[in-house]
């Protein structure tokens, strides 16, 4: 175990260890060999493993993913690095209509990892899409969205030892976040959530950068005697319903924190699943603090108006913690 990795270097060390362990793993994408990718996610691995294993491509997202799909079907373990997840729109057929359906139709495993930096930060409307909503509703794709170096490394290892396509989303805001990371064989299973902070009063569910906001908000309401349990989903597909439902049964009150546009996103699905599996344990309706149904603008003043904030989550926690009985319309 190493004590001081960033979100980005944890990815790189996980990749290095796995590439040393398994000679069939290789990475392809733009600007990888020298630059190490737009987020330095594979910096230094080019010279270390050579141009056949850190492959620079033209800006042809469809070709990158197609290359990954076919190569994954043919005995190798490709990692397609799109740099920004937004560029996956140019390879949607390869991802959704090919990679995700091949095991189902033909029984052939597709051990493909598609990594990209995602989440909302700067860059305006076209670099800040929440594609997790699309991918988690695609049967055949798994979606992971870690919040800390430990999970980046452990989830990458699981993806590189699995048999099916994994969309690996890393949040822009967390690129430099520091923390411990596991050793060569410390894996984080895909489909397992973690309790980031145990609590008795309210369950606060999030993933990615939302976990950072959730932990701060939980800390801040703790002083007011509200004991919040924070769940870091880590994987959006499959969802770890067991961890969610166990927590909801204990607290009876839930807030889902999700920066994706509120309509038909992860929070909507999580809320519906809680209704399906834990409705009679709820003391209050499930609350959602989500991104607005809007593209992301350029100006920071406008961006902040659309996204969940720590203050907004604090208010939601206070309100649900205090609520008793039905909130009757006045």
């Amino acid at each position: 175990m190493s004590n001081d990795e960033t979100y980005s270097t944890a990815y790189r060390s996980g990749m290095r260890e796995e590439m040393e362990r398994d000679g069939t793993i290789f990475v392809l994408g733009t600007d990888l060999f020298d630059r190490g990718g737009h987020f330095s996610q594979v910096k230094g691995l080019g010279p270390e493993f050579g141009a056949d294993r850190i492959r620079d491509t033209p800006i042809s997202e469809a070709a990158m993913v197609a290359a990954g799909v076919g190569a994954a079907m043919n005995g190798t373990r490709p990692v397609v690095d799109l740099n920004f997840m937004d560029f996956a729109y140019g390879a949607m057929d390869e991802l959704i209509n090919q990679a995700a359906k091949i095991r189902y139709m033909w029984g052939r495993p597709v051990p493909l990892v598609v990594r990209a930096t995602a989440g909302v930060a700067q860059g305006g409307a076209q670099h800040n899409n929440s594609l997790q909503s699309t991918f988690m509703s695609t049967p055949g794709l798994s979606v992971v969205f870690p919040s800390r170096p430990w999970d980046v490394k452990g989830l990458l290892k699981s993806a590189l030892r699995g048999e099916d396509p994994v969309v690996f989303m890393m949040h822009k805001m967390l690129t430099g976040a520091r923390g411990p990371a596991g050793g060569p064989d410390e894996l984080v299973p895909i489909g397992s959530a973690r309790i980031a902070r145990p609590g008795r009063d309210v369950t606060l569910i999030s993933y990615g950068y939302g976990v950072t906001i959730a932990e701060k908000a939980a800390q801040s309401v703790a002083a007011q005697g509200i004991d919040t349990e924070v769940i870091d989903l880590r994987s959006l597909s499959p969802l770890d319903l067991n961890t969610i439902v166990t927590s909801v049964r204990k607290t009876g009150k839930v807030i889902v924190l999700d920066e994706a546009p509120i309509s038909a996103g992860p929070a909507a699905e999580i809320t519906a699943q809680i209704n399906d599996h834990a409705f009679w344990y709820l003391d209050q309706p499930v609350g959602r603090v989500c991104g607005a149904d809007s593209p992301i603008p350029h100006s920071p003043a406008l961006v902040d108006a659309l996204l969940p904030s720590e203050a907004g989550v604090v208010a939601a926690l206070q309100q649900i913690a205090a609520a008793t009985g039905p909130a009757l319309a006045s």
Binding site: A62, A63, V69, G70, M73, T76, W106, G191, L241
Partner: protein, 336 residues
């Protein structure tokens, strides 16, 4: 560059030369029967018959090794049969039966058998080439001498990603054969009227790979072009583009009413360029086959297809309880 139809038989093993004919006759017989069955409602979703395009498929499959792979298009029964899938496995799959090649999960546009090197027909125009290109990359990474052929139609030649795939294969020198099976039409669109620059082979050559136009109604020409391309691929010289000129006799799919071409045009292709008739005549002239031998091939094909129909009719349906199984190894186990 055009490889013209050389009339004399080239240096081909006589047994192999006859087998090519047998394979083409089997495809034609299968497709004619399949088309009838589709019109009778036996094939959910119908099918895209490849009647007229038999030489393309057989020339491609026989120009490759058994361990090489092919990924194709929505019009694909000829590729599947040429690669060795049995008529029973294909037809049961078209019916949606459990004994079909893919247990009823694939259907006409998604036939695959990896043991035979059939890496899927594909419901999305141009996508089969992507899978073949990726498979070629996998073969190269592993250092095998496997070759992949990715097939698309003239309609596919106007899909942008087809050229992304070709470019990547060219710059990485992948062991790939990029095959455009040009039958002149994409559904009801005459492809020449929607193709800038008109010449697909020349377009391909712009990506820096050898590119040839081949007479697709002559199995010998297709076989030769594919063999040469496979040799180049196997020896590290990278991909080759082949435009195989052919024609479909039927409509785009079973039962299509044809308003976009004349009966005359179809008759001209049928009477002067039929890949089976011309090739059979050539074998007979060369003394490699006689009329009785030809009749025997036709009979065998008919019997085989009859048996396939019986097999498909009698095959069990898949168990509906399994419909959502095997979507991903990561899912399906979680507590719901």
């Amino acid at each position: 560059m055009t490889t013209s139809t050389a009339q004399p038989m080239p240096d081909v093993d006589p047994a192999a030369a006859r087998e090519w004919l047998a394979a083409m006759i089997l495809i034609r017989t299968f497709e004619e029967r399949g088309d009838e069955l589709a019109l009778r409602g036996k094939i959910p979703g119908g099918m895209h018959p490849a009647i007229g395009q038999e030489a393309a498929a057989v020339g491609i499959a026989r120009g490759l090794r058994g361990t090489d792979l092919v990924a194709g298009t929505h019009r694909a029964h000829h590729h599947a049969l040429a690669k060795g899938m049995t008529p029973s496995a294909v037809l049961a799959e078209l019916y949606g039966k459990a004994s079909g090649s893919n247990g009823g999960r694939g259907g006409s546009m998604h036939l695959a058998d990896f043991d035979l090197g059939l890496w899927g027909s594909n419901g999305v125009v141009g996508a089969g080439l992507g899978i073949a290109m990726g498979a070629a990359l996998g073969a190269k990474q592993r250092g095998t001498d496997q070759v992949a052929a990715g097939i698309f139609g003239d309609g596919g030649a106007n899909v942008g990603r087809v050229w992304e795939f070709t470019n990547l294969a060219a710059i990485w020198k992948l062991p790939l054969i990029v095959v455009c099976e040009n039958n002149l039409y994409a559904v009801e669109t005459q492809t020449s009227s929607v193709t800038g620059g008109a010449d697909i082979t020349r377009r391909a050559a712009g990506f820096g790979l050898p590119a040839f136009t081949v007479d697709g109604q002559d199995v010998v020409s297709v076989h030769q072009a594919v063999s040469e391309a496979a040799d180049r691929a196997r020896t590290g010289s990278g991909p080759t583009f082949l435009e195989i000129l052919t024609y479909r006799y039927k409509g785009h799919d079973s039962g299509q009413v044809i308003r976009y071409r004349t009966d005359d045009e179809v008759q001209r292709w049928r009477s002067s360029k039929d890949p089976i008739e011309n090739y059979a005549a050539r074998l007979i002239t060369a003394g490699l086959l006689d009329e009785a031998g030809l009749a025997a091939l036709t009979d065998t094909a008919r019997t085989t297809v009859d048996e396939a129909v019986t097999f498909a009719e009698e095959a069990p349906w898949p168990d509906p309880c399994t419909a959502a199984e095997n979507v991903s190894a990561y899912t399906g186990n979680e507590q719901r």
